[in-house]
């Protein structure tokens, strides 16, 4: 913008034309994805959010103000599932970030072929559907024949009712999630670590830095953009957890593992109450957006190598 207010500002049309010339390539680059985004994502999302304030059924919709939200906040199950989801997301996001960074850093020194092998080994489990993974864990936790209780038996301990005991079912599910290294995080951190130019490390070595110092002062800060990405994505994924829990416990026992998206899913696809489901979605969005806002504030920086 012009600084001297005494300068005569050029007419709007001229400014637009200049702006166009200056930015036309930018707009060209974003055009295809933004076109698709606005048509098929932003617009339906907007309509869905409007639905949050309406009562909807097959006949049509009518305005309902905050009625949906009142119903939601009055539901005890909603608050319980909030609590469960917060616990789950909190544990899982932190664990995932740490393990994927650690594993990626440990893999890095290894010879190429072995690196590939390990990366594959950690990523491949991602390609199978969550249904299968959940079924495996159901077996592992099975009280009579499951693997964990088998191990406990070897150690002379009593069998634990991992998924049947209302007090520990949620923690069992958390355990099942963090015991598996998140392949996506390993892959992304691998790519990012590999992109850090050697020069930085060489300079640090000249100054006499050891491995741990290099990790803390060079690698981790330079990975900030990646960490921000993973933190946001994992937070979203953590709060949107659904299938895994639903298959393993159905939200029980005694509703002690119900998650928010399970409620949304049931409200949308069992009750077909889209107004209320949209309202629940809006609440979830607000929570995740708040967390992401904080994360962006803390980690966002213009880092260039």
């Amino acid at each position: 913008m012009t600084t001297a207010s005494s300068r005569i500002r050029p007419p709007l049309s001229q400014r637009l034309i200049r702006g166009w010339h200056k930015h036309k390539w930018s707009y060209f680059f974003i055009f295809p994805s933004m076109l698709l985004f606005f048509t098929f994502t932003a617009y339906p999302v907007g309509r869905a959010f409007l639905l949050a304030f309406q009562k909807v059924d097959l006949r049509g919709s009518e305005w309902a103000g905050l009625a949906n939200f009142r119903d939601i906040f009055a539901s005890q199950l909603f608050w319980a599932s909030m609590q469960h989801t917060f616990i789950y997301a909190g544990c899982v996001v932190s664990a995932w970030l740490i393990t994927s960074l650690l594993v990626a850093a440990l893999i890095q020194p290894l010879p190429n072929k072995i690196q590939s092998l390990f990366r594959g080994a950690f990523y491949l489990p991602n390609v199978i559907s969550i249904v299968v993974i959940s079924l495996v864990w159901i077996w592992i936790f099975e009280p009579q024949f499951g693997f964990f209780n088998f191990l406990l038996g070897l150690l002379g301990q009593e069998p634990v009712r991992w998924l049947q005991n209302p007090r520990i079912a949620l923690w069992s599910i958390v355990l099942s999630t963090i015991l598996i290294v998140p392949g996506s995080g390993v892959v992304i951190y691998s790519a990012a670590i590999g992109s850090i130019p050697r020069d930085y490390y060489e300079a640090a070595e000249v100054e006499g830095a050891n491995g741990l110092q290099k990790l803390i002062y060079i690698t981790i800060p330079l990975l900030n953009p990646t960490t921000l990405y993973l933190m946001v994505i994992y937070t979203i994924a953590g709060f949107q957890i659904f299938e895994r829990v639903y298959i393993m416990t159905g939200g029980g026992p005694i509703n002690r593992t119900t998650t928010i998206v399970q409620l949304i899913y049931q409200t949308a696809f069992s009750d077909f109450n889209f107004g209320r489901a949209s309202a629940q979605g809006l609440i979830l969005f607000a929570i995740v957006a708040a967390f992401s806002f904080i994360q962006f504030r803390v980690l966002s920086s213009d880092i260039e190598y």
């Binding site: 930018s26 594993v103 890095q108 199978i128 994505i233 949308a268 190598y305």
Partner: protein, 312 residues
């Protein structure tokens, strides 16, 4: 692109090894042992999937499950082929009809949709990621935050409005109706922007000074340097599109147009319950191309390409 000369090999290896002396000081074997143990644990579900796929359906859900299949059999897969019947492939809508087992047809449909979607997803999101990362223009912040915000909305909520829109566009039961909303998935923009913003701007400036066009800068400089992030985006996109289920299910009605996951869902669950043998066999079949794709694109993680650009 940079090639690795033989003389450069030792140097390459030291480049590629992250100079974390702390870690190198621990016995290499010890680390590999731990990693291997963790990897085996992670891979167990995949192993179990293939074992169950090869176990006769009548004895599938066994507790404890058999870790080594006693009578490995392909009967689950042949059962899937049998049940799904035969269909017709209309090659690129030219009228050239090929009859084939539906399972194969579903494979072809899914491959086509997935490759097409992945290619354009990577391209479009790379373009947009680059613009958000390296170019400032009015509205860039707002748009970017909108993009990230869109990721936070659970998909269940937008399904019906989207379907109504597609119906009005007359795109039900078409591949276009399946592909277009899928292409609007913007998670790639976020990832690529984060990655691309770490690329040195001097390179771009230098190229501009040299008279390169914006498009050339993008294709000749940005894309190669971003190879690892592009590979990651491609792999994740491939996985998303390959396994995409709910949306294609809603949109597609003709069995000849089904994708793999959609078709399989009709087969393994009946009125009276789920046939786990068929479920696992289907999941195993669906997993194979994914595995192939992953290993194919792995090699782009190699960093040799990057170093050459800085030096030269």
């Amino acid at each position: 692109m940079t090639t690795k000369s033989i003389a450069a090999q030792p140097a390459d290896r030291s480049i590629r090894m992250s100079p974390h002396k702390f870690i190198r000081s621990l016995p290499r074997m010890f680390i590999m042992l731990i990693l291997t143990a963790v990897a085996v644990v992670s891979l167990f579900p995949l192993y179990w999937l293939f074992v169950t796929a090869l176990t006769p359906a009548s004895s599938t859900v066994q507790l404890p499950p058999q870790l080594i299949p006693k009578n490995p059999t392909l009967e689950n897969i042949s059962e899937i082929i049998r049940i799904s019947g035969t269909g017709e492939l209309n090659v690129f809508n030219t009228g050239w009809i090929i009859r084939m087992p539906r399972l194969l047809l579903w494979f072809i449909n899914t491959t086509w949709i997935t490759l097409f979607s992945t290619a354009f997803h990577v391209l479009f999101d790379a373009m947009a990621g680059y613009a958000f990362a390296k170019r400032s223009f009015p509205g860039s912040r707002v748009l970017f935050y909108m993009v990230v915000a869109a990721l936070m909305i659970p998909g269940q909520v937008t399904l019906v409005p989207l379907y109504l829109m597609i119906t009005r566009m007359g795109l039900t039961n078409t591949f276009t109706g399946v592909i277009l909303p899928g292409l609007a998935d913007v998670i790639g923009i976020f990832l690529l922007k984060q990655f691309m913003q770490t690329l040195p701007s001097e390179l771009i400036e230098a190229a501009r000074v040299d008279g390169a066009s914006e498009w050339t800068i993008f294709t000749r400089i940005i894309m190669p340097l971003s190879a690892p992030a592009l590979a990651v985006t491609a792999i994740f996109a491939f996985q998303r599109y390959w396994n995409s289920f709910l949306w294609p299910l809603i949109v597609l009605q003709s069995p000849d147009l089904f994708t793999l996951q959609v078709g399989l869902s009709y087969i393994h669950t009946s009125e009276f319950g789920t046939n786990y043998g068929l479920l696992m066999a289907g999941a195993a079949l669906a997993a194979v191309p994914m595995i192939i794709f992953f290993f194919t694109f792995q090699k782009y993680f190699m960093q040799g390409l990057r170093i050459g650009a800085i030096k030269g």
